[in-house]
Symmetry: none
DNA sequence: CGGTCACGTCATCGTTCGGTAAGACTTCGT
DNA sequence: ACGAAGTCTTACCGAACGATGACGTGACCG
């Protein structure tokens, strides 16, 4: 059970030309307590946004006519605060960077688990509606000397700014949000990269690069620990609770 | 059973026409604390879901009669929240098929490592039960001073972390979940290693290594006891109450 | 058009793991 | 007490795994 978004019922506009997709998405969103409208193409989407004033738009990247990027740009021009979650396929040229560039608040790669999508949407909604302190999506993640400012997407180590790339920050953010537990490379690929399949060494390398930046001694990491035969685990400096 | 199992015991339905596969999967899942039901084909699966109300379904894609896709669709129509993990042979069709069309929550390609499958299943269950970012809620097996944290895959002896290898942890976990009775080496080979046949000395050696790490005096073990002529038995420090 | 940066991939290398074998030791039946 | 069967202990070695450095590509910038 996905559970309802606390407090109010949100209205979500789902824009996708494939009914197969939009239908599944709608069912899941409705289940989680959202009102849902559908639009099959870009211009319908723009019209629907004007008419319905949704709280969030789920936008497929590849569509006939106005594609997701273009729709997103026009939305941004008009309503910069309207949260947008992008749907992209793996094979598509545009990856997340492109999506984020035009101002999407999050993206989900196809094929995705509907559950995952709903979680992302809820997270974006929570952030967007600026609701009170939300333990599920704090803007600042801190552990001892290490601080991750998810708003500015900047990390600090004892006050000193640490330049992290997009991937590195995503990875760190995920680990900080899910500390203590051992995550397999496949898990990380899926939840940080949004890939269902892929080369596990990608994770290995990025963990290494991240360690290089946030561990005092990268050869003997104290935060991002290797769980042999399993994956990695973030060890909180300060034990929660 | 000793050891407060913090975190609930899930029921999982495994659907596969190949007993070879489903049997191994079942053993691993049971070892990791799930109750398991088997179904050999699609219609049996649907019946079992209706009758048993499992928390999660592991579904083979290729099956005679109703295949995994069809089963998944019908499940979705009825119970959109029931998590499904797909088993697929490495193939090209998998991506398109699996992502949206049927809404599987994850999939694992054959051949797979049973351990990886169990990790995925746990991961899906965790998300599904909505306890995602909760580092305090992994299943803990405890007996007196000894603690096995299955989330972190770390054991503790009186608070002090004890580094265990994958096999050692698996073995300990099994014994903690099945204390008090004697297990033959063949049993352990089957249920911990997933082997039907094999050298019994493998077990002997691993028990030795485990004792070395968790017994105060490995020469006079108080937890993992030898049952002469039979095998081994985990002796709970605290008698179940 | 170079130069830089991010990032995925690959090859290599050192480490760890874990199964096996062999000998020492203990238990048990006679 | 003796031999046989069972168990413990140690050492070894191939295989699996992770760390590391380097390369190729594409995006972005001057």
């Amino acid at each position: 059970m996905i559970g309802s978004v606390v407090g109010m019922e949100h209205q979500v506009l789902v824009v996708d030309d494939d009914p197969m997709v939009s239908d599944v998405v709608r069912r899941y969103l409705e289940q989680s307590g959202c009102r849902v409208r559908l639009a099959a193409d870009g211009s319908a989407a723009l019209a629907a946004v004007a008419a319905e004033r949704p709280d969030l738009v789920v936008l497929d990247l590849m569509m006939p006519g106005l594609d997701g990027l273009e729709v997103c740009r026009r939305l941004r021009a008009d309503q910069p605060d309207l949260p947008v979650v992008m749907l992209t396929a793996l094979g598509e040229e545009a990856d997340r960077v492109l999506g984020l560039e035009v101002g999407a608040d999050d993206y989900v790669t196809k094929p995705f688990s509907p559950r995952e999508l709903v979680l992302r949407i809820r997270s974006v909604l929570r952030r967007a509606t600026g609701s009170a302190p939300d333990p599920a999506a704090p803007a600042m993640l801190a552990d001892g000397e290490l601080l991750a400012d998810t708003g500015r997407r900047v990390a600090r180590l004892g006050g000193e700014p640490v330049p992290l790339t997009v991937r590195e920050f995503d990875l760190l953010e995920f680990l900080l949000r899910n500390p203590g537990r051992a995550w397999s490379r496949a898990d990380l690929l899926k939840r940080v990269w949004g890939w269902q399949i892929g080369d596990h060494s990608t994770v290995t390398v990025h963990v290494r690069r991240l360690r290089e930046k946030i561990e005092h001694d990268p050869a003997a990491p104290r935060r991002i620990l290797t769980v042999w035969g399993i994956g990695y685990r973030y060890e909180p400096e300060v034990t929660a609770g």
